[in-house]
């Protein structure tokens, strides 16, 4: 985090040339370059990384997006697309010598077809507003990141975002049918189609989660699902997080795919309870929220079974939401977990590793050991159903030592996730933040394959360069750095 706060000096001549080229077809207010105008774009949700862009472009339609890209391509200016800037890995961090392409003004829901259960939307549309527009038809858009009131659907596609309900309803990639994408040359391609598959390679899947490195998404056709008739949630409290993890496995073993299955550890519960009064037992080592949705009969049947499994798995307290208000209250705690934990310390650093669930207890033990090692506290929020961990490392960014420790702590958690057979990112993306951890997860041949694919879409590497996939050179440097810091060689020496 700390390492990247370095501002590249603006090349004013270049800036003037790029602005002039863009203003040939863009209105004046659609091309920004004054320091105070571009500063709001200097970071995304990962605010430890900042960089003011050379130029900000604010297109209002697809033609302008294409023309901007065509211009940048001709001038060989790098381009970073930006949705709502809620990303947590620095994916939308601008380049000091580049154009920041804000998609925020493309915010129309173009069509919504209740019979076909699809909506065609522009990339700047907020995730939640799709479900709001679909609600009168009894439909909704399933992926529901906690940031859904703010994040854009274009950003969701670029990150393949998930949500609390994705074990049952899938990630973004499972819930979109078609994309219109502007290539770096400024041409439009259509990926996917009106049906459930398309001719040729599945480039729709490849584009999803590509963090703005392969193309700029200009329109998305999403699938809408019927709102479940009802939903209920079971809250179960455990004396031990390992036991809670086993309870999750037991639910799955019983043939149940819960609509949501979330875990919070005690530090999180203690932070959340005074904040929202969700009714969580503060003496528990961990609690599970397990939701069932569907028809009345399905939910009644499933909830009964979940309740019994939780009891048999050793929960010391099991409560079923009695009505919709209580269901929402149980969830309110989970939804407020990040801000609640955020109140405990000046800053927190949110990690996003995914692990095989059976290794949960081991990973949490490892994190406890790291808390001592780095002298920082960590609260754990966990999409337990799909093994996606969100350790929240508490630190104070004004203390350089804490900042460095938080960064090292995070990297060590990610390494542990890889060691137990998991991944460094389940849904937040690699961005700039986890780029060095990519060198741990993938070998150089695999990274080269990624670069070859990038080259197929963007041969001059102008789309969001420096994000998501490290260069082999960078990995070599990173490897050397590790040897230098001497973790293995000089364990007796103190490290700061």
């Amino acid at each position: 985090m700390s390492a990247s706060v370095h501002a590249i000096p603006v090349d004013f001549e270049r800036q003037r040339a790029v602005c002039a080229a863009l203003r040939a077809f863009m209105p004046e207010h659609g091309v920004l370059f004054d320091r105070e105008d571009v500063t709001p774009y200097e970071c995304d949700g990962l605010s430890a990384y900042r960089q003011v862009p050379m130029v900000v472009a604010l297109p209002e339609n697809e033609e302008q997006v294409c023309a901007i890209l065509e211009t940048c391509y001709a001038l060989r200016v790098p381009v970073t697309a930006r949705g709502a800037g809620t990303g947590l890995s620095g994916g939308a961090l601008p380049l000091g010598n580049g154009v920041l392409l804000s998609m925020a003004k493309l915010m129309k829901i173009v069509t919504l077809d209740p019979l076909a259960r699809t909506a065609r939307v522009q990339p700047g549309v907020r995730n939640l507003s799709i479900s709001e527009a679909a609600a009168p038809h009894g439909l909704y858009y399933a992926p529901d990141p906690s940031s859904q009131i703010a994040c854009s659907i274009g950003g969701n596609v670029a990150e393949n975002s998930g949500g609390v309900h994705c074990l049952k309803y899938g990630l973004t990639v499972h819930n979109i049918l078609k994309l219109r994408v502007a290539t770096i040359e400024g041409e439009i391609i259509e990926l996917g189609g009106g049906g459930l598959d398309s001719a040729g390679y599945d480039l729709l899947a490849l584009m999803t989660g590509s963090e703005g490195l392969l193309g700029v998404v200009t329109e998305i056709t999403v699938k809408l699902l019927p709102r479940p008739e009802c939903a209920q949630v079971v809250l179960a409290a455990f004396d031990d997080v390992g036991t809670a993890g086993q309870a999750v496995a037991n639910v799955i073993a019983a043939g149940i795919i819960p609509a949501g299955m979330e875990m919070m550890d005690q530090p999180t519960i203690l932070a959340v309870e005074p904040f929202v009064n969700a009714g969580y037992p503060t003496d528990a080592a961990g609690i599970l929220l397990c939701e069932s949705d569907g028809t009345r009969e399905e939910v009644a049947d499933e909830i009964r079974r979940i309740e019994r499994i939780m009891e048999d798995s050793g929960a010391h307290l099991v409560r079923v939401s009695r009505d919709e208000a209580e269901r929402l209250r149980f969830w309110a705690g989970r939804k407020a977990a990040f801000p609640a934990v955020g109140r405990l310390s000046p800053d927190y650093y949110c990690m996003d590793g995914t692990i095989p669930r059976k290794r949960l207890a081991e990973v949490l033990r490892g994190i406890t050991v790291m808390e001592k090692k780095y002298e920082l506290r960590c609260a754990n929020v966990f999409h337990a159903g799909d093994g996606n961990l969100h350790p929240l490392i508490l630190y104070d960014a004004n203390d350089p030592r804490q900042l460095q420790n938080a960064e090292d702590f995070g990297a060590e958690i990610l390494k542990l996730c890889i060691d137990v057979g998991g991944t460094i990112t389940g849904e937040h993306g690699v961005g700039v933040e986890k780029i060095d951890s990519m060198c741990v997860q993938f070998n150089s041949a695999e990274l080269e394959a990624f670069h070859a694919l990038k080259h197929a879409f963007d041969e001059h590497a102008l789309l969001n360069p420096g994000k998501a996939v490290p260069t082999l050179h960078r990995c070599a440097e990173f490897g050397r750095m590790h040897v230098h810091s001497g973790a293995e060689k000089f364990p007796e020496l103190p490290r700061f």
Partner: protein, 352 residues
């Protein structure tokens, strides 16, 4: 004997050096599908066996040569299944062939496609390099989603060695309902039902009858059946299995078989020949001697694409022609994974 994966890698390197094409072969159950294969056969069926299956993690990992039937049997024993209900087309279909073909069965619109269930895979690229993408966890956004790109690429991008798939629980109960219905009524009903919270897992219209499969908790299935109405089909499971593997009478006979994948609300196709509708209206099978151009035009107007699935005039490619921009991009993607162009050239499109 040395590891089969090493042997394949050696064979790939030799072929790449000599610029000789390779025809990757599972069991060959889908050889009728796609354009004809050329090149020396690389038989991957020797690389078989389930590597890891952890029912409570909902993940199964197996070698590409493993018979699909073995995988499904192992999963059934644990009360689980492959959610995309892959077609077998004969007994020996392999996992690799299934993922390379990327075909999904009747449950597809309600549970997801083959690529939706792929969590990760191991493959050999066109230089014989051994690569891992994705993993064995449900959520993973590290690096581009190469596993899903490979799914459905008909072996043109690499040799799949191992695949990890998400598992789903078998539903506790199933029921199939059927009733007389015209095609346009059936299309309207399929779309209307899909917008309601009903436990539907398959739909089909053929020979003037509409079939619906319900699945889930027994009381939920019964209450949905009461809402939908129609008669109960005695052996529903056999009906859907025959449909999945194209053993239904509709699929026998000589006239060319076309597969049209379209918007579910595309109106009845004005094409000569018999039709069978699946996937809530999004998949239309057509037995027709009509010319390829006309069929493809109809598919386009339904916002979809048409595949000449079996038979017909081989001069019209099996797959829907790509717009020039997309063709260019496909060639570049192919070049990225298989620079010399040795894997199944022409199998997907004549150009690569």
């Amino acid at each position: 004997m040395s590891d089969p994966a090493t042997q394949f890698a050696d064979a790939i390197r030799a072929a790449a050096d000599a610029k000789r094409p390779l025809n990757i072969c599972g069991g060959g159950s889908k050889t009728f599908y796609g354009n004809p294969s050329i090149g020396e056969t690389l038989d991957v069926t020797t690389y078989r066996g389930i590597i890891e299956y952890e029912p409570t993690e909902l993940v199964i990992t197996a070698r590409a040569g493993t018979p699909l039937a073995d995988i499904e049997a192992a999963m059934r024993e644990q009360g689980q299944m492959l959610g995309f209900e892959p077609p077998h087309f004969g007994g020996n279909a392999t996992l690799g062939g299934c993922i390379a073909a990327g075909l999904s069965g009747p449950r597809r619109p309600y549970a997801g496609s083959a690529r939706d269930f792929v969590l990760g895979l191991r493959l050999l690229d066109g230089r014989g390099t051994d690569l891992h993408f994705g993993g064995q966890v449900m959520k993973n956004v590290a690096g581009y989603d190469v596993s899903r790109l490979i799914t459905g690429s008909l072996g043109t991008l690499g040799v799949i060695l191992e695949v990890s798939l998400k598992a789903l629980p078998l539903p506790p109960s199933e029921m199939t309902l059927c009733r007389e219905q015209t095609q346009s009524e059936a299309l309207a009903l399929m779309n209307e039902w899909a917008g309601k919270p009903l436990p539907i897992t398959a739909t089909c219209h053929v020979d003037g009858r509409l079939y619906v499969r319900l699945a889930g908790a027994t009381p939920a299935v019964h209450s949905a059946a009461a809402k939908l109405g129609g008669e109960t089909l005695a052996d529903g499971a056999a009906f859907w299995r025959d449909l999945r593997d194209q053993r239904h009478a509709f699929f026998s006979g000589e006239s060319p078989l076309w597969r049209l994948s379209l918007s579910s609300i595309a109106p009845e196709l004005q094409l000569s020949g018999a039709q069978l509708i699946e996937w809530g209206g999004a998949l239309r099978w057509l037995r027709s001697d009509s010319d390829a151009m006309g069929i493809r035009k109809a598919a386009r107007s339904g916002d979809g694409h048409a595949t000449r699935f079996r038979g017909g005039d081989p001069r019209s490619g099996a797959f829907h022609p790509l717009p020039s921009q997309m063709l260019k991009l496909h060639k570049r993607v192919k070049q990225a994974m298989d620079p010399v162009g040795i894997f199944n050239p022409g199998r997907l499109y004549a150009d690569f």
